[in-house]
């Protein structure tokens, strides 16, 4: 890197510092609840990091940059804070340098040089945050799959599958698999599917439930649909979905009573 340019920038450090701090202070955020003091510290660290980048070489390679990003994102500051800070810094540096009396060629050279410093940082900002984002999404996706559809054996020959949350195609497949495997594994004669936690029952969800119940029937067991809320009952009727093929109950409790009856079991109080 051109030592003359570095010197020029470092000589103007206080000036750049002032302008940059002024501009970045204008940047308002609604997502973060960071205190003004912490905010100032963050700004200072950001700026000194940028100066280090200029005077000591690339910071995007050795991890200092990553650590700073983590800190910023943990403070709930948006990505714009970083990109705007960088853009603002680039602009100020260029403005200040070109204020000096220099040749057109030299100015062009300086532009290129500044771009060459700033671009790796910008790139790694974008790369880092998108990687972080991807990781979050994939973690949440697998977390969602984990709480997907457990089949719980409750009494002899009776199992319950509580469904909670939105049912999409992937979950529907999982529900079917877990249901059928569980029925065989636990030798269930009756399976209660509880849809109390399913927010919307549309034709697709109903279709998947019907298919699952049908498959359970083929295995020789009975499926009872429980946890149908009044408003869900109304929408199912309006949609014209026929659920008469298998028994339904309003609550898990009633379904359990029915299941005990079907399997010839009784819960008795011991005196």
């Amino acid at each position: 890197m051109n030592a003359a340019i570095i010197d020029m920038i470092l000589n103007k450090r206080t000036e750049i510092d002032e302008l940059w701090s002024e501009e970045i202070a204008d940047y308002k955020t609604t997502t973060s609840t960071i205190t003004p003091y912490m905010r100032e510290q963050l700004n200072k660290e950001f700026l000194s990091l940028l100066f280090n980048h200029i005077s000591q070489g690339d910071i995007s390679a050795d991890g200092t940059l990553e650590r700073f990003f983590d800190k910023v994102l943990r403070a709930n500051m948006p990505l714009e804070y970083l990109t705007q800070g960088l853009q603002c810094f680039r602009r100020i540096v260029l403005e200040i340098i070109t204020e000096e009396d220099i040749q057109k060629n030299a100015a062009f050279e300086i532009y290129r040089e500044v771009d060459r410093w700033m671009d790796p940082i910008l790139n790694s900002v974008v790369e880092n945050s998108s990687r972080l984002w991807e990781r979050t999404v994939s973690i949440q996706k697998s977390a969602l799959l984990e709480l997907s559809a457990p089949l719980i054996p409750v009494f002899q020959h009776i199992s319950v599958m509580p469904l909670i949350g939105t049912i999409d195609t992937e979950r529907a497949k999982l529900i079917m698999e877990n249901l059928l495997e569980g029925v065989i594994q636990y030798r269930s004669q009756v399976v209660l599917i509880d849809i109390t936690g399913v927010p919307v029952v549309d034709t697709m969800v109903a279709h998947h439930i019907i298919q699952a119940a049908d498959a359970v029937r083929l295995l020789g067991s009975t499926c009872i649909l429980v946890g149908i809320r009044p408003e869900i009952a109304q929408t199912i009727v309006s949609l014209g979905i026929d659920l008469s093929l298998f028994p339904t109950k309003s609550t898990l409790q009633k379904g359990m009573a029915k299941a005990l009856e079907v399997t010839n079991q009784q819960i008795v109080n011991e005196k």
């Binding site: 034709t203 279709h207 309006s238 949609l239």
Partner: protein
Amino acid sequence: MDIQSCVEVCNEWDIVSARQLGRNMAKELGFGNVDQARITTAISELARNIYLYAGSGKICLEPVEQMGRKGLRIIAVDNGPGIRDIRKVMEDGYTTSGGLGAGLPGVKRLMDEFTIDSTIDSGTEILATKWLR
């Protein structure tokens, strides 16, 4: 009142966000529990149709007012292949995808007003309105 909120529908999770938007708007307008469920179910059906048959499109929701009545209108627009025989898709049990075939006739029953407009190879637009009682 012409504040319109739109949700682009390109994958299954967009159906969920369209639905949530619908539920929030219905709640704000003062719809009861049952009507909220009706509206969200209708949005779910329409959004799923977009996802299944057109690939992508959008669901727009707007509060409407007519002759002193307030309501919520769902506008489902796509640029998909269009519907060949509208009378047939409005029949119960007609399906081209192995589903229950209750979607569109179901939406018509769930909502108070329902219009469908479709052109082959250029897309479908469905308007469905629910009035506040």
